[in-house]
């Protein structure tokens, strides 16, 4: 187990450096001067340009730039964006919002996905099962932005059940509608994964033994089928947390959520290199750590890996 954890930890390092290098290269090192873009048609003084170039290390060769960027990232000295706002303060404001949104979406997809998947799996081939399966495909097929607009107009505006847009003060209640939209896509995957896993476990030897012992149906389903079916589902959910945080660009845009995705989209469109690389790096870090946690969780859940020497 210790060796497994060590090996996984070592694998994280090249992934983190590779991804940040890729993004840094794409944002900063290609033709086109980000400082010139900042001023538009006006020509600033050369001293101003030089000062800005020095501030963002643009006067150094690429590898030095990247090294300095990494140093700043690790020491959490994130600097300022092109409007001279400290990036760390911006991150502190937007990150909790997106984390809250992602966690809420995760809870929604986990609860409903597992429940529907379990019932569909237990009644394989019945009407409920086939209906749920087709519905899950439909949910996967409808793009997030379409779903977002439809729910915003129907639930938010016409029925008035939830706030159609979130605005400045996001909390669990106002985020419910974007969380549903964000979680629905993965909900279909959780459902299908749970169903497949339940079907596999239903025919396993230990479930037959449990039945033969005369255990009640409830106990067989809850303890022997559901708990063992959770292994792949939990790992999917863990990996999805990172994906939800990075993939909330569309949802946050539609519902005007002041989160990471919204900020990132605006920063990309405005060519704010420093903000983009910092946000993407932090997101990549979150995703890499989430994937690592999932692998460790998997090892802990599955005794075949746990006892590996």
């Amino acid at each position: 187990m210790t060796r497994y954890i060590l090996r996984r930890l070592l694998q994280v390092i090249p992934v983190f450096f590779g991804t940040t290098l890729l993004v840094y290269y794409m944002v900063f090192a290609l033709p086109g001067d980000p400082i010139a873009a900042l001023f538009g048609d006006k020509q600033p003084k050369q001293s101003v340009i030089d000062a800005l170039r020095a501030q963002y290390h643009l006067d150094e060769p690429f590898w030095v730039q990247y090294g300095l960027f990494l140093r700043d990232l690790i020491t959490f000295d994130l600097g300022v964006d092109f409007t001279q706002q400290p990036i760390a303060a911006t991150l502190g404001r937007i990150f909790p919002v997106t984390a809250m949104l992602a966690v809420e979406a995760l809870i929604i997809e986990a609860v409903f996905g597992v429940a529907f998947g379990l019932f569909a799996g237990l009644r394989k081939g019945k009407l409920f099962d086939s209906t749920v399966l087709v519905m899950s495909l439909v949910v996967i097929a409808v793009p997030t932005f379409v779903l977002g607009f439809v729910l915003q107009v129907v639930i938010g505006v016409q029925l008035g059940w939830a706030r159609p847009t979130v605005g400045a003060n996001a909390d669990w209640g106002t985020l419910i509608l974007p969380a549903i939209v964000l979680g629905l896509g993965s909900f279909a995957y959780v459902l299908r994964l749970t169903r497949a896993s339940v079907l596999e476990n239903m025919n396993s030897d230990y479930v037959r033994t449990a039945r033969a012992k005369g255990l009640s149906r409830q106990r067989v389903v809850m303890t022997h089928i559901l708990r063992n079916s959770m292994i792949p589902v939990v790992t999917f959910l863990g990996a999805d947390l990172g994906g939800l945080m990075g993939g909330a660009i569309v949802t946050e845009g539609i519902f005007n959520v002041p989160g990471v995705g919204n900020k990132l989209f605006q920063a990309v469109l405005r060519g704010e290199g420093p903000t983009v690389v910092v946000i993407v790096s932090v997101l990549v870090l979150v995703i890499v750590v989430a994937n690592l946690m999932v692998d460790l969780l998997y090892a802990w859940l599955d005794p075949r890996i746990r006892y590996e020497k």
Binding site: P31, G32, F145, V146, V250, V280
Partner: protein
């Protein structure tokens, strides 16, 4: 047609006879190949028939849009008709610019579908070639591919796409091909991974050893014996990817970084319809339905293919 190997017979229940059921296969009869077998199973599936019919229809619309609508998509756009309700000859109403919604959807099919198909072809060429080489020969290609896959795995697709679209090359050459290139760049590692896994599973099979013993070259064995037997999961992923890529194009166009607005595509139509959402929601809903139905068809096809091609799910 049933497989020749199945013999119709009746087996007595276990509690009536001490004899277990004997061999139920006529071993000397030629077995059906994977693909023939799959085809016979597919033909009986409602999901496959519906999705295949839908896909044929969508391809027909993309190739010959003139057959399905008489109204020109962009001529005769009157601002007086802006966000107008359906009228005679214009069954789905008018866009913000006063153009015919139905006609724009029909004519937009080609762009959306070509992005999907071309991206899948690019991803297949890159992913299958590199994945097969990595899986078959292993070594440094395999290691490099695994690390590269890890890097792309840590970068959400939409995030990567957003950053790449801001590169000067992509900003200056907006069009079908840049979107295809963008999608291919982000999606090939997954295809390579799947291919690599499938090739590793097959490369040590007896029939490959036999072919090598008969004098087939190493590369020849890969092309003629390993790949055909490892291609099933690749085809399933390619079908599912087609739907995913069409959605990705629409999402990028929706965000304003995909296709230029001069190209008619469903994503652009949905993006433009945003401003009309409070006055005439249906302008947004109709292209969204076209998009969703197309994606659903490909996902259903992929799902049906997986059911018949994947031996693991076959037992269920």
């Amino acid at each position: 047609m049933k497989s020749n190997r199945q013999i119709e017979h009746f087996v007595a229940p276990f509690d009536e006879t001490p004899l277990p059921a004997t061999d139920t296969l006529k071993v000397e009869a030629a077995p059906l190949g994977l693909w023939v077998d799959a085809w016979h199973k597919l033909r009986r599936r409602l999901m496959f028939i519906i999705s295949a019919a839908m896909i044929l229809l969508i391809f027909a619309v993309a190739l010959l849009p003139g057959l399905f609508t008489q109204a020109p998509p962009n001529a005769n756009c009157l601002l007086a008709n802006s966000e107008g309700l359906p009228t005679e000859g214009h069954p789905l109403g008018f866009t913000f610019q006063g153009c015919d919604v139905y006609s724009r959807i029909i004519h937009g099919t080609r762009a959306s579908l070509s992005v999907g198909v071309l991206s899948v072809i690019c991803v297949l060429i890159m992913g299958v070639t590199l994945g097969a080489l990595a899986g078959y020969y292993g070594g440094w290609i395999g290691a490099l591919l695994a690390r590269l896959g890890d890097i792309f795995f840590a970068l959400p697709v939409l995030l990567g796409a957003l950053v790449i679209t801001q590169l000067p090359f992509f900003r200056e050459n907006k069009g079908v091909w840049t979107v295809v290139l963008l999608i291919a760049m982000l999606a090939w590692p997954q295809m390579a991974r799947i291919t690599r896994g499938a090739v590793i599973e097959v490369r040590n099979a007896d029939f490959v050893t036999a072919a090598r013993a008969l004098g087939v070259s190493r590369f020849g064995a890969l092309v003629r014996h390993v790949l055909p037997n490892a291609i099933a999961p690749v085809i399933v992923l390619a079908t599912l990817d087609l739907g995913v890529f069409i959605v990705l194009e629409a999402t990028l166009s929706f965000l304003g970084v995909g296709m230029p607005t001069s190209i008619m595509s469903w994503g652009n139509d949905i993006s433009e319809a945003q401003q009309s959402i409070r006055t005439n929601t249906m302008i947004l809903i109709y292209p969204a339905i076209a998009l969703s139905v197309t994606v659903l068809s490909f996902i259903m096809l992929g799902d049906a293919l997986r059911d018949v091609l994947d031996p693991k799910s076959r037992q269920r």
